[in-house]
Amino acid sequence: MDFIRGIFEPHIPILDDIKEKGVRQTIEDTANDSVRRVTAGLDIPALRGMLRGDEPGRPNPRLTPHADGFWLHMRPGFYNNLVTGLYPSFRLGWLSTFFLTFEIITGVYLMFWYTPSPLVAYQNMVDILSTVPFGRLMRDMHRLGAEVMVAVVALHMLRTLVTGSYKKPRQFTWATGALLLWVTLVLSFSGYLLPWDQLSLWAVTIGASMAEAFPPEVVGQTLNLLVRGGPDIGANGLLRFYLLHVIGLPLAALVLFGVHYYKVVIHGHSLAPEDENIGEDTAKKVPLDKREYFLPTIATRELFYVAGLTLLLIVTSAWFYHAPLEPHADPQVTPLHTTAPWYFLWLQGMLKLGDKVIWGVIVPGAITTISVVFPYFELGPNRRYAARRIGLSGAAVSVFVLAVLSFMGTPWYAVQSSADQEVLAELLPQTHPGPLLNSDWDEFETGTYEAANWQAAPTPALRNILHEFNESLQRHGDTLPNAEGIMVVENWQSGLRKVTLRVLWDSIETGEQTESSQSTYFHQDSAHEVTTRFGG
């Protein structure tokens, strides 16, 4: 009979509470209870007190979420107030983490509209720009974030080197960090291939050809095949780079990041060199009077940074930076100058020094290995700047050498190509719109114009382009004697004009007049200057 009564008179605990404490108190308690569960230990009054800036009381209840909650258990409960300022960390480690998260979020958004196949990848890019809401914004932010992240991670490494924070006991933290830099570089680079435009194909072709140089030959060939998925980059290669970009490398980054940050917390944030006695490491024990608690100070500050940076990235990507999209990948058309991304220019520069095996494999391999393990061999205990003249000079020299090598990686250094092609490519580059297509279409009146006679052209845009043409011919005067530049503008179709640039010069070898020309088609609505600002 009790069983049947139980069905008709169900026991509802909250009713008991109301009977006992009244409605108001019950609601308050229930709300507090829910909040406590979400925050893993803090109820509403505790949260309000925190935001008001009340003293925490003892024992500090704001440490409970660090002990009981999953997310905050990864963060230290308090920091040494010597490391919470801009110096010595410059927030670079935190920024790296922010950008990793930012890239994952924007990247997942883009994944919804992307298929890793050469047949549709480029069309996907066009769709992202033309039909996906916020598609261009997300793509621009993802690209911008990737470039900034590389810079931030590299600066983080440099900062650690300069403050000597890699020294004992943090050698392992440094080693994982050095690997993380490589993961970041390759992560950023592997994303280059995905849009399947000319930039993708040729930047990655250069990169993959380095794998081929790995000795002995059979290993190099196998590596090359593994990376490209065939003799040339095609459907297999794209799929490989895609999987590497969206699964392999992010996973490696997250695992390495977990280890890296665990070590950071375990050893404590390294203090500035001058804040410690020589040879001591006091970061781990934070005296009571120097404690800056994570809740609420550090947490609110970080949330503020997140909001500010997100705003900055949105505004920059919406109005100032647009990720380039070059013409569709075409193995038949090699752009005049293909360069690696800026963070691999030093490698491209080294490859110009000579042997591919030495400068493309052995030296970079040695640099990588040394950069990972050197803290285990560099044992000087003193972190003070004055005592590390050799080490800091070495760091400065390394930065300088990297800068010089990067310059050597650009087309300005030791690249042979015919001057007439250079002249034409300055006005009509194959990879991005260039000055001619960025001009005002309406001002491109039909006619035949001479570069030398640029002042006589009827419109400012024509004068401007012809002037540039003329300057460029004069710059190459030693290799293009008696050069003449001619530009022909013809009406081709409704809204479409054909522009032909011709260079005539006396060949140095034969003395005969030689000609070189290039044509382009220019449509009224192509708006090159709007849609690919910063392009290329």
Binding site: T131, G495, L496, D525
Partner: protein
């Protein structure tokens, strides 16, 4: 700490506001992109046309008789060509399908010895899908001018035409103008110079050019035509090409309507140009 919270919240609201502004602008931005992208397709299509299509469809897509039809022509856009082949879709789809998959069989009544090849990689051709699409947009972009020019196409009346009597005396020919005609609207060079569909005009090795060959040809025992001079031989070859077909070539390949299409002056110019090939 309080100013952090205030500023952070302010930033958050600002970021949301910026996102809202962008959301409002998105449709207009997408439209702009579509227009710009369409324009780029036309630009790309123009250069693809010059590199791949011009040799048969002629400069500016005016067509070359006996080689390939005009695309920059009113009948393509006013639907009459679609009606002739019994195609029920749009002009754009017709152009797209023809470029991508080619034409296994020419239209009825057309005398095109060469078939439109397949261009899409999908059907074994050389071009990617995006290139096919660019070509389509370029060809479709002729619509406005092609329709505007309809009816304005110069045509000649029967009285003006030179006809097929090869003994008629022609005015003095201008070889330079003949070259313009042969390379342009008449399309002779597509088969006789640029390809080997018809006998080559230019001499090569021991073979003399068409101008010199004409004289020796009428002396040949297998010559069954009516020409008695080199000039008449060339006249006949143009207006009555099936009377005598050179060995190794097929009859009915050359368009048979030049007698109706040419004025005496035009023919004289073309013959003068042919005679320059020695």
């Amino acid at each position: 700490m309080k100013w952090y919270i205030g500023l952070g919240l302010g930033t958050l609201i600002l970021a949301t506001a910026v996102a809202a502004v962008l959301a409002v602008q998105e449709p207009a931005r997408m439209e702009r992109f579509d227009a710009a992208f369409h324009a780029r397709q036309i630009e790309n299509g123009a250069s693809l046309f010059e590199n791949n299509c011009r040799t048969c469809h002629g400069p500016q897509g005016r067509g070359i008789p006996g080689v390939a039809p005009a695309l920059n022509a009113a009948d393509l856009f006013d639907g009459s060509r679609l009606q002739a082949v019994g195609y029920a879709g749009t002009v754009e789809d017709y152009v797209r399908g023809t470029i991508a998959a080619g034409r296994p069989v020419p239209s009825e009544g057309a005398s095109y010895p060469q078939r439109m090849p397949t261009w899409s990689q999908q059907f074994g051709g050389p071009l990617r899908q995006d290139q096919i699409e660019s070509l389509v947009q370029f060809v479709i972009n002729w619509e406005q001018t092609a329709l505007a020019e309809a009816g304005a196409t110069p045509s000649i009346s029967e009285e003006e035409a030179v006809g097929t009597d090869i003994t008629v005396s022609l005015p003095e020919g201008d070889a330079e103008n003949g070259q313009l005609l042969a390379e342009g609207s008449l399309g002779c060079t597509a088969c006789h110079v640029l390809s080997t569909v018809g006998p080559a005009w230019a001499g090569e090795g021991e073979t003399a050019g068409i101008g010199a060959r004409a004289a020796s040809r009428i002396e040949q025992p297998d010559y069954i035509g009516n020409g008695t001079t080199a000039h008449e031989y060339l006249f006949e070859s143009v207006v009555l090409s099936n009377v005598f077909v050179v060995e190794g070539f097929d009859p009915n390949v050359m368009p048979a309507d030049y007698g109706r299409r040419l004025t005496p002056q035009d023919l004289a110019d073309v013959l003068a140009y042919m005679e320059t090939f020695r």
